[in-house]
Symmetry: C2
DNA sequence: GCAGGGAAAGTCATCAGATGACTTCCGGGC
DNA sequence: GCCCGGAAGTCATCTGATGACTTTCCCTGC
C-alpha cells in the first residue's frame, strides 16, 4: 500500500471510528504524519483527497477540520465533476432526475405550506416578467429548489441541485427557439405549482416528470455546450 | 487563488474543454506544473483531488490518465465517503433509495429477459440455502444489482450500489432476530422476482419499495455499526 | 479593570532538490 | 523468433527551508 493510501485510509478510519468527530480539528501535519508513518507530502495529498470529497476542510493558518458530515456535504462534491461528463452520459442522469423530481413534487404537494405556494408563484411571475435568459435560468433553479426544499429531504434536494447545475451549463433559452421554449416551460411551472397548491401529489408528480422530460428532449435536440470560466457558484437560492 | 486551486481548476478546465479527452495521458508533472505556473507539490495535490473524484487515475511509473468520464466513474467516488455519514443522515438516503429501487424494479419488469429471471431466482435459491450472514449479504447485493442492471441505466445502477454498500456495513442479519428477518427478506425477494418475471412493473415497484422500507425499519430499530478494516471491495456482481 | 495593539506561536501553503520505485520500450543475445 | 537486460520516462517519497495566515496572549495605555 502506498504512503498516500496509508494516510488516506488511516485518516478515514479515524473519522469512521469516531476518533475524529464532525467539526473537530485534526492533528497538525507533522504530528499526524508521524503517527500514520508517512511524510508530510503524501499526507497532504491524502488530506486534499478527503477535502475534495467534502469530508475535511483545510483552513490556512488555522488547521484542518472534519466537515459536519451531512449527506449534502459529501454529495455536493459531485458538482465539481458532473459537468465534465459528456452529453451521452448525461441522459442517464436525466432519467434519475425525472424520477426524483417527480418524487419531491409529490411530497411537496403533500407537505406544502402557504409560504411555499406563495414563493413558487412569485418565482413564476418573475420568470415570466424577465427577458434575461440568465436570470430566467437562475429563477428556474430557485423554483425547483424551493419544491425540493418543501419535500423536507436536504440530501435529496442537494442531489437534485447538483443534477440541475449540470443541465444549466447548456443555456437552451438563448437559442432562436428560446422564447417559445420558455413559454412552454412557464406553463409547465404553473401546472406544477397549481398541483402543489391543490395538495395533489399525483398531479404534481406527473407535471414534474413531464417537465423534466421536456427539458431532456430539448437538450437532446440541440447541444451547444457553453464555454465557461467559472466560478459563478453563487448559490442564491433560498 | 491558491496554487492548488489554480492547478485544480486549470486541469479541470483542460478536461472540460476537451483538450484532454477520456483515456488520454496528461503531461508529466514537471511540464504541466510549469504550464500552470505551480510547483510540483500543489500540482500533485490537485491531481490527487481529481483522482479522488474519479476524473483522473495516476499510474506509478507510467503517467496520469483521464478516466473514461462515464457517470459511474464520478458517482463511484461517493462510495469512499458515504459510509462516514452518521446514521441520522442515512435515513434521508434511504428515502432516495426507496424511490430509485422502485423505479429500477419497474423498469426491469418491463425490459426483463429470460436470463434475468433465471439469474434472480437462482440468487434467491442460494440466499435461502446459505447459513452464512456475510454470504447472504453478498447475494442480496447481487440480487439487487441484477435488477438494477436489467433496468439498463448504468449510472443509476452505480448510484444504488453506492447507497446499498453503506447499508451493508450494518449487518442486521447477525442479530438475534436475524433469522426471522432473513425469512421476511427472502419472501420479499420472491415477490419482486415474480413480479419481474410476470412483466408487472407496478407490482415490482411496490414490492421493491416495501422491501427497502422494511430494511430501513430494521436499521432504524437496531443500529450496531460493524467495525471494519476494508478493503472488501470485490464487486462480484455481474 | 478594561480595551486595543502588537508580538509570538501554531499551522497550513509553497518551493526546491534529491532519490527511489515502477513501467515501458528497445536492442542485444541466444 | 523469443527472452532478457538495460535505459529512459514518469510517478512516489523524503527532507529542509521559507512564506502566509490565523489565533492567542501579553503588554501597554487609559
Amino acid at each position: 500500500m502506498s504512503a498516500v493510501d496509508k494516510a488516506f485510509h488511516g485518516l478515514r478510519h479515524m473519522i469512521a471510528t469516531g476518533r475524529l468527530g464532525p467539526g473537530e480539528r485534526i492533528p497538525p501535519e507533522a504530528e499526524l504524519g508521524e503517527e500514520l508513518g508517512v511524510s508530510r507530502g503524501p499526507l497532504r495529498e491524502a488530506v486534499r483527497m478527503l477535502a475534495a470529497l467534502g469530508v475535511v476542510e483545510p483552513r490556512h493558518g488555522s488547521g484542518t477540520y472534519v466537515s459536519q458530515l451531512r449527506p449534502e456535504d459529501v454529495i455536493g462534491s459531485l458538482s465539481l465533476t458532473l459537468e465534465l461528463l459528456p452529453l451521452s452520459g448525461l441522459l442517464e442522469v436525466y432519467e434519475i432526475r425525472r424520477v426524483l423530481e417527480a418524487h419531491v413534487a409529490s411530497k411537496a404537494a403533500a407537505r406544502r405550506t402557504p409560504e411555499t405556494v406563495k414563493t413558487l408563484f412569485s418565482l413564476i411571475d418573475a420568470m415570466e416578467a424577465t427577458e434575461d435568459p440568465t436570470e430566467a435560468s437562475e429563477l428556474d433553479h430557485r423554483f425547483h429548489a424551493e419544491i425540493a426544499r418543501a419535500a423536507e429531504n436536504p440530501t435529496l434536494a442537494t442531489l437534485l441541485a447538483v443534477f440541475r447545475a449540470r443541465s444549466r451549463k447548456y443555456q437552451v433559452f438563448t437559442l432562436p427557439e428560446g422564447p417559445e421554449m420558455r413559454r412552454k416551460s412557464d406553463a409547465d411551472h404553473r401546472v406544477m405549482a397549481t398541483a402543489i397548491a391543490d395538495r395533489d401529489p399525483g398531479a404534481a408528480a406527473g407535471a414534474a416528470e413531464a417537465h423534466v422530460a421536456q427539458t431532456e428532449r430539448w437538450l437532446r435536440a440541440f447541444m451547444p455546450p457553453v464555454e465557461e470560466d467559472e466560478d459563478t457558484s453563487g448559490d442564491t437560492a433560498g
